[in-house]
């Protein structure tokens, strides 16, 4: 489902990061642990097609990302890859529901309010449908961000430090949500983090080193 080989990225000549090969099957959940400076975010951006790798290849659902021109890559990402960031950002002028509708619109899939309602009720957010993102607590915002990553039923879910800003209770809730939703959608889940609290939840782990 998500496969990399010989992946490396250089910001400049003296600073090249080599990444271990990843082979994440459908339904598998992986944790990539690493301290800061190990290129965690860079790796996640490479996997999500937000940045182009200079060396090596990334294959998502059989598609080599480096083969896609920019606008097709955007469309591919919108449809097949759901990404959750450490800081959740939303389009400030839109409500929670509209933000999710926007995700459907931008990915080019039919806009489906029922799908959004079911998804939000699973995440205990039904009552926030018409709220502006700013009015939500941080935990709620992170859950909406997860909902947005899931709304188009992507084949791959990437999460960049999804829990580091949360307290223990919210942390547990978010991890369990990610896991249960990924399982339900039969998606591959890959979490990049330095949050040691997550170690116990995942049996598949890769440790990133400098």
């Amino acid at each position: 489902m998500l496969k990399t080989s010989q992946l490396s990225y250089s910001y400049d000549k003296n600073n090249t990061i080599h990444f271990p090969d990843i082979n994440c099957q459908k339904d598998e959940h992986w944790l990539l642990l690493g301290q800061s400076g190990t290129g965690k975010t860079t790796l996640l951006h490479l996997l999500g097609g937000l940045r182009k790798a200079q060396n090596g290849s990334i294959t998502v659902t059989g598609q080599d990302l480096s083969q896609l021109p920019s606008s097709q890559l955007d469309a591919f990402r919108g449809k097949h890859i759901g990404i959750v960031f450490q800081q959740s950002h939303f389009v400030a002028s839109l409500t929670v529901e509209e933000n999710l509708l926007l995700a459907q619109y931008l990915a080019g899939v039919p806009q489906d309010k029922t799908r959004i309602k079911t998804l939000l009720s699973k995440l205990n957010l039904s009552h926030k449908l018409q709220s502006k993102p700013k009015a939500l607590s941080q935990g709620e915002q992170q859950r909406v961000a997860i909902a947005r990553a899931l709304v188009n039923s992507p084949k791959v879910i990437l999460a960049d430090e999804p829990t580091s800003a949360l307290d223990d209770e919210n942390c547990k809730e978010v991890v369990e949500l990610l896991e249960s939703q990924a399982r339900e959608q039969e998606a591959a889940l890959l979490i990049v983090t330095h949050d040691q609290r997550l170690k116990d939840y995942f049996k598949n782990q890769i440790i990133l080193t400098k």
Partner: protein, 433 residues
């Protein structure tokens, strides 16, 4: 959800800067359009009412005033000319061959601010030959034919009588002894005819033979004579038909005309007539085309300044759209990068920002049009009160489409740099920070 919807919401979320941009845009568009509307409708009215008159001959004074009073019925007349002098135009062997026809006008009275014009039936034919043919126009002294607007606004009917007033003011002294009888009402012609009360020349002459109560130095000499006439009238049981049979003093301007509308047979008349009149008579000539052009030029200085001001305002509004978009990008860079993550292409985001600029431009344009046409309605009301001229506030010009195109261009240009910045943004760098 779509781009239009999204850009609309993005505009609404910053109401203050959006309002500022909109107000500026509307003001600029409004002023430019209003100037265009006034210019267009005034010129149209002027041209229509000109009706091919080549020259106006009247008493010495301002030629522009002569044109305004005799053709457009706006300003006061320059004075009167004697019948003997007026006859020169039609009779003099050097002049007569150049002239195709003339229409005499006698002005000076009004009824409730509507001017009474003593003239011939050809004056009606000049503006609307069908109306002239289908209406039983005045035939005797003290009979009048009303323009459509006069009849409608004063609610006058055929057969009714009224007393005219000396001068053009609503409060002027009225000639209470001699009523004017309405014999017909013209259909609407959309020309100056609509706002006039028409009668024959002699009626005006008779009205002015009434004893004058106010002390106009000009009229003083005439007062005595007028008084004698009045005595005579009472014996005659107010029969003006009798009075009109009195010989008219050919040399007395008071018993003469206000002006003559002249139509030439040949363009030579435009040169020959002014020379002849100025050298041999006490009259002056005025060419309507020349004088109205002079008027436009005089108005032009003011409208040019206003127009420049309007362009400056529009430029500032474009700047305000630019600054507002530019500033908002700082707050929105994450959400814009996020939209890329969700599948939006660079081009889509580029269009989103352009659309936000365009939306302000379109809204500003619509507000501007409302402003200008509303302004035109107000101007029309004022013009109506002062001159009985009515304009249409809600008539649209095809030039307004060009203004729309200009507005769209400004919206695009103002949004271009912010849109390009968004287009070039590296999402990974923005989100990785």
């Amino acid at each position: 959800m779509n781009l239009i919807n999204l850009s609309w919401k993005n505009i609404l979320i910053k109401p203050l800067s959006t309002t500022l941009s909109l107000v500026l845009f509307a003001l600029g568009v409004g002023i430019i359009t209003l100037l265009m509307l006034i210019n267009n409708q005034v010129q149209e009215k002027f041209e229509k009412n000109l009706a091919g008159v080549d020259m106006v001959v009247g008493a010495k004074g301002s030629p522009l005033q002569l044109i305004l009073s005799s053709i457009y019925h706006i300003d006061y007349p320059t004075g009167n000319i004697s019948l003997r002098e007026a006859a020169i135009i039609k009779k003099h062997p050097r002049i007569a061959p150049l002239v195709e026809k003339t229409i005499p006008l006698a002005l000076g009275d009004s009824y409730k601010t509507f001017r009474i014009v003593g003239t011939e039936h050809s004056y009606v034919e000049l503006y609307d030959s069908a109306a002239a043919a289908n209406t039983a126009l005045w035939s005797k002294d003290m009979e009048v034919t009303l323009g459509a607007k006069v009849a409608k606004e004063l609610n006058l009917k055929v057969g009714e009588e009224f007393f005219s007033a000396h001068g053009f003011m609503a409060e002027a002294h009225s000639h209470e002894e001699s009523p004017l009888r309405i014999v017909s009402i013209l259909p609407k012609t959309n020309t100056v005819l609509d706002q006039l009360i028409l009668t024959n020349i002699n009626t005006i002459r008779l009205l002015h033979k009434e004893p004058e109560i106010e002390f106009d130095e000009e009229d003083e000499e005439d007062n005595h004579k007028g008084h004698d006439d009045h005595e005579h009238h009472s014996h005659d049981d107010h029969s003006h038909n009798e009075a009109s049979k009195e010989p008219v003093d050919m040399d007395d301007p008071k018993q003469g005309l206000t002006s003559m509308l002249v139509f030439f047979r040949t363009p030579m008349g435009n040169i020959m007539l002014p020379n002849f009149i100025n050298q041999n008579t006490n009259m002056q000539t005025a060419a309507p085309a020349f004088e109205t052009n002079r008027l436009y030029e005089m108005m032009g200085v003011g409208t040019d300044a206003l127009r420049i001001l309007a362009f400056v305002i529009i430029f500032i509004s474009g700047l305000s759209v630019f600054i507002s978009l530019f500033n908002s990008l700082k707050d929105r860079k994450y959400e814009l990068a996020l939209m890329r993550v969700m599948g939006a292409s660079r081009l889509k985001l580029f269009f989103l920002i352009i659309l936000e600029g365009l939306m302000i431009a379109i809204l500003g344009y619509i507000l501007g049009l409302l402003l200008s046409h509303g302004g035109m309605s107000i101007f029309s009301g004022a013009a109506e009160e002062a001159y009985q001229y009515s304009f249409d506030g809600w008539r649209f010009l095809k030039e307004e489409v060009y203004i729309l195109l200009g507005a769209l261009a400004i919206g695009i240009v103002a949004a271009l740099i912010p849109a390009l910045m968004v287009y070039k943004t590296d999402i990974s760098e923005t989100l990785g920070r």
